[in-house]
């Protein structure tokens, strides 16, 4: 018993003591701390002053913007609908809003462990995505039909992200299993496929999907340019995600699979009951990280000619009186991205921490 107590880690030093050690350990440290504190306060003051105190908020007050030192949020007040919804018909904006809320709720819900089984997650995403698509597309339940060409802004960004995840995730599992397969032909072919797509910049793949597929695929397989680009994006995503899953698969001790074999489980039982659950557990942080990267990369579709949030932001300040206020528009879009990406990456860090504790 006594030995057990002695093995406990030493008590944590008090907060004040840690602060003292971290900030004022030596004269040089004191100077650095003071300078940093001053710099931080200065930055904070400047940002608050620019964004809140000296800023103009209402669209009617745009005339005051010239004289103001701070941000001119009037541009957001006046043009936020373009940034968020693009060319979506004005009176249907509530649908776009609702669709975005549903999709974000789906993404948030899939972060809870209760949903972490293939059936629950699959059902959740199919329902969430289905509701999103019906709300956006319309044409049924008394909603007027709106074709994807008129989708835009944040809703398009979320649509691309969600559909890339929805197509890419199952594909990535197939690719990861294929590359780990004992059949040499299967392993070689999937390996070649993955390495080929991973060696190219995303933009070239999206570009190829937009301009090459009309040549390569027969007419009945082509579909809308938006869908082609999404499929290209999803393949790119799946190739990266497959490598993350493969890393998770390789980290499983071989005894696990052998135990399954001795119990007489067949390949699919071993894959779905033994290998994949553990692989996901092993590589969950890097899988979440891949989603984070993918959300940021959706902004690239603007180059192949889609009106997602970056392009719609560009349009929002592009006219007449708003041109000087590009900073506010970009800050607004940047904050939207930041909110998504930062919370996702924090979630990934939380998972990583939790697993480290779990493994002791």
């Amino acid at each position: 018993m006594t030995t057990a107590i002695q093995q406990l880690p030493p008590a944590k030093p008090s907060f004040a003591a840690r602060l003292q050690k971290s900030l004022f350990n030596s004269p040089l440290d004191c100077v650095i701390s003071v300078v940093c504190a001053a710099l931080l306060f200065y930055l904070l003051y400047q940002i608050i002053d620019w964004a809140f105190i000296a800023s103009i908020w209402r669209a009617e007050d745009v005339a005051l913007c010239k004289a103001a030192d701070g941000a001119c949020w009037s541009v957001i007040d006046a043009r936020h609908r373009i940034i968020l919804f693009g060319l979506f018909p004005f009176e249907e904006h509530w649908r776009s809003t609702l669709a975005c809320i549903v999709m974000v709720a789906t993404i948030v819900a899939s972060c809870f462990t209760w949903f972490w089984s293939a059936t629950r997650l699959g059902l959740l995403w199919l329902c969430g995505f289905g509701v999103f698509y019906i709300l956006m597309r319309g044409g049924m339940f008394g909603l007027t039909g709106i074709t994807p060409e008129r989708w835009g802004g944040l809703a398009l960004t979320i649509f691309i992200f969600a559909s890339v995840s929805l197509i890419g995730m199952p594909l990535s599992i197939v690719l990861a299993l294929g590359r780990r397969s004992k059949l040499p032909v299967v392993a070689r072919l999937t390996g070649l496929f993955i390495d080929f797509f991973r060696s190219l910049p995303l933009l070239t793949i999206l570009f190829a999907a937009a301009v090459i597929t009309p040549f390569v695929l027969p007419g009945w397989l082509q579909g809308d340019k938006l869908y082609r680009v999404i499929v290209g994006f999803a393949i790119f995503f799946a190739c990266y995600q497959a490598e993350n899953i493969r890393a998770g698969l390789q980290a499983i001790p071989p005894g696990q699979d052998e135990a399954g074999l001795t119990l007489g489980l067949n390949y699919w039982q071993r894959v779905t009951r033994i290998q994949l659950p553990q692989a996901f557990r092993n590589s969950l942080p890097s899988i979440v990280n891949q989603f984070v990267i993918t959300f940021k990369e959706t902004s690239i579709v603007t180059i192949v000619g889609f009106f997602e949030i970056l392009a719609s932001g560009h349009a929002a300040y592009g006219t007449g009186e708003w041109t000087p206020h590009y900073v506010e528009v970009y800050v607004f879009i940047g904050l939207i991205y930041f909110a998504f990406v930062f919370s996702l990456s924090r979630y990934g860090a939380y998972l990583e921490n939790r697993m480290r504790v779990g493994h002791g």
């Binding site: 931080l40 301009v211 902004s299 990406v341 930062f342």
Partner: protein
């Protein structure tokens, strides 16, 4: 038949044969379809168009060019532009990354907080958004008439940054570069073959001779009837003389440097943290100063730990340079997409695009892996 299928070996062979034939059918189908589509639009295939002159202009080039140049030359310029952008962006990103990595491992809470804020802000916003933001900022800089001056030599304007250059021929610059790299290689050879004392004296002499040699070269190669230093000066509405760094390039370099710096900062931090405490404590015990502990123990070990992930970052950043198109910088991707619009040779040009990036990325990976092998400490494995 069913008994044959129950045999695992046979089943596996059948399965693989099936997969191969499906892949083959899909590929053949694609080729046939492409042929048909090309015939329908009566397009000719082949790389003959590379010899034709382009007849269109683009915004920026590292080499002198004209619109009558061939596609081959234009595409080469595109690759060089991309390489220039990548080189500038990645070098700056590495410097920023090292500084941020050091700040974040400094142990001073407030100091590392500054580093953390930097990393979180620049890593969590898409690169492309940062690029258009910086482009807007750079393009809104003052007009040439009210340029920001730096000691009457360089001028920062909304039309670009103007800075002085030497009036020397291009070939001599290339020769200087060759000289420099050659010298580094020779030095590496001497380090292995010469005794330590002689090596140091040779190194000293070499480093003194090299700048002299470059100066002599510059003197020989200077363009006649011009001053050696070409300083930009305001003439009318714009600057004449000197070199101009266009706002597109400036914005992209800033964006890639800040974005990449955040990622590389994290890599460097991980490397510095991976150095075992015992190594540092051993340094203290032997009485090394904090500076020497850093420069002789922590940094060398950290560099070895991070090189593979740094290589990865470099390749990623090089791929990220393709966003030049959004601000109108004529990088490789933009040149290729303009060529596709102008010549209609979609398939060939896309193959060139993909091949070009494959080549660039493989080169980066090859060089970095060579460095990695070279500096690896035999028998010492750093956990990263």
């Amino acid at each position: 038949m069913s008994s044959l299928l129950r045999n695992r070996k046979i089943r596996e062979i059948v399965l693989q044969a099936l997969l191969v034939s499906i892949v083959a059918v899909v590929l053949i189908g694609m080729v046939v379809n492409t042929r048909a589509a090309l015939d329908a639009q009566s397009l000719t295939t082949g790389f003959g168009f590379l010899e034709r002159s382009t007849g269109w202009d683009f915004s920026f080039s590292v080499l002198p060019y004209s619109i009558s140049d061939s596609y081959t030359k234009t595409l080469t310029i595109g690759i060089l532009n991309t390489l220039l952008l990548g080189f500038l962006g990645i070098s700056l990103a590495t410097i920023i990354g090292i500084v941020i990595g050091l700040i974040r491992t400094s142990g001073n809470y407030l100091f590392s907080l500054l580093g953390t804020i930097y990393v979180e802000v620049f890593r969590n916003v898409p690169l492309i958004l940062q690029a258009v933001f910086w482009y807007s900022v750079v393009a809104h800089l003052p007009r040439p008439k009210s340029a920001i001056e730096i000691g009457d030599l360089a001028f920062i304007t909304g039309r670009g940054i103007y800075f002085p250059v030497f009036n020397i021929a291009l070939w001599s610059v290339a020769m200087m570069l060759v000289l420099f790299i050659g010298w580094l290689l020779v030095l590496g050879h001497f380090k292995r073959t010469l005794a330590s004392g002689r090596y140091h004296s040779v190194r000293k002499i070499g480093w003194c001779l090299l700048p002299l040699l470059c100066l002599a070269l510059a003197w020989f190669a200077r363009i006649p009837d011009t001053p050696l230093l070409d300083v930009p000066a305001l003439k009318g509405l714009n600057f004449k003389g000197g070199m101009r760094m266009p706002p597109e390039l400036t914005a992209l370099v800033i964006a890639i440097a800040l974005y990449g710096g955040a990622y590389i900062g994290e890599v460097v931090r991980a490397g510095l943290m991976s150095v075992p405490r015992g190594q540092i404590e051993a340094g203290f015990v032997t009485g090394l100063s904090p500076y020497h502990i850093f420069s002789r123990i922590r940094l060398p070990l950290a560099v070895r730990a991070v090189l593979p992930s740094l290589t990865n970052q470099y390749v990623q950043l090089m791929k990220a340079t393709t966003i030049g198109l959004v601000v109108g910088f004529s990088d490789f991707f933009m040149i290729v997409s303009t060529s596709i619009n102008q010549s209609g040779q979609t398939l060939e040009l896309l193959a060139i695009l993909m091949g070009g990036f494959l080549l660039i990325n493989l080169t980066i990976a090859f060089v970095m892996n060579a460095i990695n092998r070279r500096i690896a400490i035999v028998g010492y494995e750093v956990k990263s």
